[in-house]
């Protein structure tokens, strides 16, 4: 080692890099990886937060699959929600952004209007929707009545409670819309001009140019909203007063998990539940990633 030059350039740069990302690494280890590993370990115990944590092997998992009376109900509710809400909101966001991707005077106004609901979030919105969805006096059924349709009992009817939530989610497609809009704006005009010269109509242009060019964003949107969909909790917790709705129709996986953790204080069991959910989401995401090369088109040919 000679005097001044302590490190060669590469080591120095590497170290600096680590120092720069240190806050994230610490955050990840302390707030994400640590709790993650802890919950994995505790899922094999009867942990109840305060007084016990004895190793009980696979019992929590056995009970979940074989004996639990609501595990399958809650999983079904969640799958139902994901299976409908993800495609509907994705298609909704694409159609909306296609409409808003026009050069018409005042378009900014409409973009703002449609994006606004995505800015609002949380409990306030759910309470608002509970009023909108009131069977007798709510705005939704009032409007339906103008067209002679007797609206359903929405949140009070087990057959309509989940559709009501999905319907509510459609209101906030603005977030996805923004991504699609940005990506549509990035599509080269020359592609459309060439297509027009070849005699393609608007629909053909949309299907053959717009959609393929935005597939990376569609892919991103599907992956993230799938993960988000499995985590649905707040909506059901607020809109059913934490009860799970009529005939447990809003008892989603995470709501049931929450009840096990904070009502029955069976934290080990709840942690086992969270790992099952993790595996389900993980597998689905892997499948998504494997399928992606077949339909996702990246400009420039690179992956």
């Amino acid at each position: 080692m000679t005097g001044r030059k302590r490190f060669n350039y590469k080591t120095k740069e590497g170290l600096q890099g680590y120092i720069f990302i240190l806050p994230w690494i610490i955050g990840f280890i302390v707030f994400t990886a640590g709790p993650l590993l802890f919950s994995f370990a505790a899922s094999f115990t009867n942990y109840n937060i305060t007084s016990q944590m004895d190793f009980i092997g696979l019992k929590n998992y056995e009970k979940l699959f074989a004996d639990d009376q609501l595990f399958w109900t809650s999983l079904y509710n969640t799958l139902y929600y994901v299976a409908f809400s993800v495609p509907i909101t994705t298609v909704g966001a694409i159609l909306l952004s296609a409409l808003l991707n026009r050069d018409i005077p005042g378009m900014r106004f409409f973009r703002t209007i449609y994006y606004l609901p995505a800015v609002l979030s949380g409990v306030g919105v759910y309470l608002l929707w509970m009023q909108l969805l009131e069977p007798g006096t709510g705005l939704v059924n009032t409007v339906l009545a103008w067209f002679g349709i007797a609206g359903p009992n929405w949140l009070f009817d087990p057959a309509w409670a989940k559709p009501a939530l999905i319907f509510m989610k459609l209101w906030s497609v603005g977030g996805g819309m923004l991504l699609y809009l940005a990506s549509m704006q990035g599509i080269s005009k020359s592609l459309y001009e060439a297509a027009e010269i070849d005699g393609a109509n608007a629909w053909q242009q949309f299907i053959r140019i717009t959609i393929p060019m935005i597939t990376p964003v569609i892919f991103f949107d599907i992956v993230t909203s799938l993960i988000g969909g499995f985590q649905i909790f707040q909506e059901a917790y607020v809109m059913s007063n934490g009860e799970g709705g009529p005939v447990n129709s809003l008892l989603f996986y995470n709501l049931y998990m929450w009840k096990k953790a904070f009502e029955a204080f069976d934290m080990g069991y709840a942690m086992a539940m969270s790992w099952i959910l993790f595996i389900i989401v993980f597998v689905l995401t892997i499948i998504n990633l494997k399928l992606a090369p077949r339909w996702v088109h990246y400009e420039g040919g690179g992956k």
Binding site: R6, N48, F156, P246, K259, K260
Partner: protein
Amino acid sequence: MRHLRWLSILFITVLVLSGCNGFTKGDSAAKDKGTAESDGKVVLDFWTFWGSEIRRPIVEKIVEDFNNSQDKIEVKHTFVPWGDIWTKELASIAAGSPPDVVINDINATALRGEKKQAENLSKYLEKDDISENFYEELWNATLYEGDSYGIPFNTDTRVLFYNKDAFREAGLDPEQPPKTWDELWEFAEKLDAKNGEKYERIGFYPLFGAGTDVWMLNADKVNFIDEKDEVKVNTPEKLDALKWLKSWHDKYGANTINSWQSQMESQQGNPFFSGDLGMLVQQPTFYTQIRDYAPDLNFGVALLPEKEPGNGNTSWGGGFVAEIPYGAKNPDESWEFIKYLTDQEAQEYWAVKNFDNVANKKAAESAADSEEFNDAAKTVYGLAVEAMPQTMLTPTPIVAPDFPTLINPEFDNVYLGKKTPEQALEDAEAKVQKLVDQNK
């Protein structure tokens, strides 16, 4: 090897930073949280969810009075929102630095005792036994294996409010509220007013303001899981209650019920205020809504009607306890404060200012005669005090804390017409029994 030094600096930085994130508890936490301030007082952190314009000043006045009444303890009130308070408390217990006194749900007190979330108060009660001050049912709910884990603070019950003018209009004696389930039905028929197929006034619907479980409790006075951990869901009386409730549901139909229910939720628009609902089961505190939104309403109150003569006017209530979270640093001082909080003076102040039922019997009785109440308030409060000895709680059974998730859907199925009451209760009983067996 200079770069070793670099690495060690890095390592130390990591340690220091992670230290901030709570790896060190115990000592440092105790120093911030409580114990000696400069003037030698012990500082207690008191958590409640009472942050409303009405309740916050009242609880803070009680705290202030306590602080002025002695010179050893200084209580600081912390408002934590309803949705967060108990999960935050739980996390702080697990972290070893809980608050000193917390207001918590009375029904799950024994469960918290069993899980070591709350301190056992027996050693304090041996010295000064204050158990006689409270309603027996409330006191019993705080016991786990004979030891108390929280002291009852406030409570509630369910009583029948009725519209005297509507009674007169329907040809009923406004001083004779219904006494039995049959009379409820009979009076409601008279109070009903229809315009064609559409109801303009409905006499009574038992599930506005009370759940299926309340009427089942009223009928057989036994909880779904009794104190011996035996499942008592499918009993003849509970079946009668469910059939009776179903007949009400059939009488008015889902559409009428939903439309009344949604108006009920919008406070000012409550159909009871406008006379569109003849009778309503509510907590006594409902009086404050009448006072604020319908001051001219001519109403009466009565005990919850009984299933048949002699069965008893059993009602249902809940409430809150003041307790010391497990691992709190100054339990002796916390106990002093809890004693003050649940003693007659503070309780009476709370009762009168909030128009709320309190757990301390003497405080409740003297509040009923308070000079601050007008005649209507006195009548309602007096009736609430009368109802208390017949009011049952539904303590969370340790063998099946989350059983309501299993039985409520069965009741829903009955009202939706998907199951007969017999079938629903049979299924509910089997499910609860299975949960109990699993947890035993």
